[in-house]
Symmetry: C2
Subunit: 586 residues, 2 copies
Amino acid sequence: MVTRLSKFFVRTLREDPAEAEVQSHKLLVRAGYIRRQAAGVFAWLPLGLRVKAKIERIIRDEMAAAGAQEVHFPALMPRDPYQATGRWDEYGDLLFRLHDRKGADYLLAPTHEEAFTLLVKDLYSSYKDLPLTIYQIQDKYRDEARPRAGLLRGREFTMKDAYSFDYTDEGLDASYFAQRDAYERIFARLGLEYVIVKADAGAMGGSRSEEFLHPTAVGEDTFVRSAGGYAANVEAFTTVVPSPLPFDEAPAPVVFDSPNTPTIETLVAHCNAVLDGEYTAADTLKNVVLALTHLDGTRELVVVGIPGDRDVDDKRAEVAFAPAEVEAATPEDFAKHPLLTKGYIGPWSATGPVLGEESATGIRYFLDPRVVDGTRWITGANIDQKHVHSLVAGRDFVGDGFVEVATVRDGDPAPDGSGPVHLARGMEIGHVFQLGRKYAEALGLKVLDENGKLVTVTMGSYGIGVTRILAIIAELNNDERGLVWPASVAPFDVHVVATGKDAAAFELAEQLSAQLEAAGFDVLYDDRPKVSPGVKFGDAELIGVPRVLVAGRGAASGEVELWNRRTGERETLRAAEAVARLIAER
Amino acid sequence: MVTRLSKFFVRTLREDPAEAEVQSHKLLVRAGYIRRQAAGVFAWLPLGLRVKAKIERIIRDEMAAAGAQEVHFPALMPRDPYQATGRWDEYGDLLFRLHDRKGADYLLAPTHEEAFTLLVKDLYSSYKDLPLTIYQIQDKYRDEARPRAGLLRGREFTMKDAYSFDYTDEGLDASYFAQRDAYERIFARLGLEYVIVKADAGAMGGSRSEEFLHPTAVGEDTFVRSAGGYAANVEAFTTVVPSPLPFDEAPAPVVFDSPNTPTIETLVAHCNAVLDGEYTAADTLKNVVLALTHLDGTRELVVVGIPGDRDVDDKRAEVAFAPAEVEAATPEDFAKHPLLTKGYIGPWSATGPVLGEESATGIRYFLDPRVVDGTRWITGANIDQKHVHSLVAGRDFVGDGFVEVATVRDGDPAPDGSGPVHLARGMEIGHVFQLGRKYAEALGLKVLDENGKLVTVTMGSYGIGVTRILAIIAELNNDERGLVWPASVAPFDVHVVATGKDAAAFELAEQLSAQLEAAGFDVLYDDRPKVSPGVKFGDAELIGVPRVLVAGRGAASGEVELWNRRTGERETLRAAEAVARLIAER
């Protein structure tokens, strides 16, 4: 059916919506694809729904090709399964919780690991039933603290979430790669360039975890990659640990006065002034106090020692201490711990307690993996206005363990030996990871194996944010005049425009629309009778259908203009030739 | 793609699920179409999702044919628009309410009149934009007090809801009938017999309102119809009002002793014993005390006077007094109103106050429409153990108005003069109604008309419960062995079964599946290698695909059995003949 713009439920706007921060949000609203209903909650107009349906179709195709079967879970889920895995609490404020008229607790599901696990437990009991991969395309909910950026991070959003079930680790690997391959095909069809980066498996407790990132300077995620093929997001990057150094000959530590040097910069300047040798921030050990809030609500201070030329990376710290929440220690925290001499904290002090021995302060002390035995440091002496130098790791102090919280930098060596890494930014477009047996164990999903023994099932989880992907495609495909859809997801294949007052233009446009429709194209026909060519062209460019066919002045002599929305190219052609061209390039 | 049962995510159950009350619920769970997640909340397995998708496809086809355009609203909606129309409160306990991390109020939408109205207000401003009909197929929420009967009345359910927008009443009529016609086509394609009955427009404030009911003895709704073509649900049935009778000559009322006659039965027996003449319940006026709970929470007692041979019909009373809630008066209510002499209440008393005069009791008194001026009644005297006879309506008492709360009976005259009505039962499968200007007024949806004047838009609302329809089809199409789907919504077109240990059977079944697939059929192929024919046949009958093709013993000589699931007919045919037969009957 040809869609006539005169009857089509769409209105374009000249002004950007006030609440929109990013280009995709502005354009999708202005061009009449979506409308805001509440913060992070949108209604879909016919144009938007068409693009969404095309993305979903591609995903369904590739899921079927990968042997995944579609199911559908409710958004409204009871508390019990989420309680069993601890996520009812872990999700904190991100979870929309509610209760029914009888007072029973429910949630709006942010993801469905529990429900899928229980469904498979309900239906299956034998290794012969496996492998199984099931998925859904479904609306999910997260009560984001700052829902912004339109569909990029909504509070109601559509996800494709798939879950695989195997009874061996090899089986899980096979299921994982089947989904991973499907993702590669999906993003290729969507025209989305991607990098597959190692991601942190973290709180999910699994082993293998990778993100598909679209590399773009405006991305919210930072990742690293080496020329040799290593790629990881910063949370998953692991530091190459240097070899320990001998320290038998090392001189003893020396405490020295260092007035007014609470920062690394002032300390390094002071050292270069009063000590022998030349020092940089890398010679100092910076001790940062962090406050962890554990799931049970208790607050714990910890100190992390990292080379002075690096900072604590919030995201890496979050992963390192998960599921606890991490923040910088507050003045109140310091006030409660007089042993923490702000600006002069060290792992060791000639007069004070040794951090890392709980008996002394009760404060755990963690080290950056680079602080191996034998490395020598200038660091705080735990005495106001004093530092210490020649302090040797492994001799003068030890930590309670190593943590990966320091920033990653351009030039850091990749952990796989493939050379130095470079930092880049990207947007997450998909995530595949191996959950392992965490959910199956918590919910009792076991099957009988070949030997009649009950074994716990191992699972994978595979997500693509459908509405997020749509926004990303819009974010990447636009210009100052509007949206520029890739053909695979465009709401229409061809936008036919009749201009002027000449009946011949409308007649020709009508004929061409019918011909294209008969040839299998989705046609949007701008048949509005009293609208100026300028407005029509502006709308066509804003809406962003890849091909625009204009019947105007030349219509009487059978000529049309064929536009390429992306390149801006415009050709005058015989009408039949234009149709043939469109068919040929399909 | 041929779906292989060996890999298909389905398991059939031998036992009915404990919580299931109705046949559709039992069978949809047993045959592996759905699984319960919470009361009235279900997950969809691949089989169920296929049937649901087929129903949705038919609805989308017919919506497009009727010129309706698809949009999609969030389930999570802010409170404001529902507050503006009063429905935030009116819905009471039926509404799932929740708040976000900032404390803002949200609801899970039970229907979207407000949102559609506001969206049209946002986009449109001129009569030239109209008419418009937009719809969605979307998951809705109602916190039913007794979610039961599986999908027939779920708490999360899928609806097609359409809304029309016009600026004239004639336009609304046209939009209304376009949807009504589409519904007729949809139900015809779904194989669902229907009666279109007048429904109460009631609380929605509109004018025309009709329900599509499927007539069935097990239906939850009662409706009436006449041989002459009248049809209405009992809530919408209107009583034919008799002409007033002259009462100039009528004798004066007489109070008489009537000990131990608090019921109509005992009263009639007593009258026949002590009074002249022969009496029936129809000669008595029964006065029923009802308690209304108004939206603001106040409780009001009212008395309704109806002929003694009828009862108060709860549903008719609900409609008559909407939006107040109605229940029978409690002993506490009577205790608070000593003037109400239980069992002997009348409209009038020689000694007590006249009901209907607020000054006397403060209790409003309503009458059945049959209690016209001049009718004579035996009724309570408002004195314990006493009744009154020869009490004349319009002379001895008047009411505060007429209400349609009395039961409708077989033989009552249809209001359109088309003869006596008969009661029947049905299930609601669709509802079309004219909202009129209620929502547009509450939310300020106006457009400029031809004369440049702002006029309020008039709306219609048109709903089909997708998941409810699916359950109704299952409810109507089953036998003792399982489901029997109509071809238009069956999860597969053909169920191919290979039986026995003979490789030839599996090879032939495989070939036939591929052939049918190539011919455009959705094929489910039972390729399970070590499952007995009995189990396979049992599963095929339970799952209910309309055609079953069995390759068994005869396979080696090229013979198959073609089953008709509905009739039970089984034919032995050459394989090629069976395929040709299936293609021909399509």
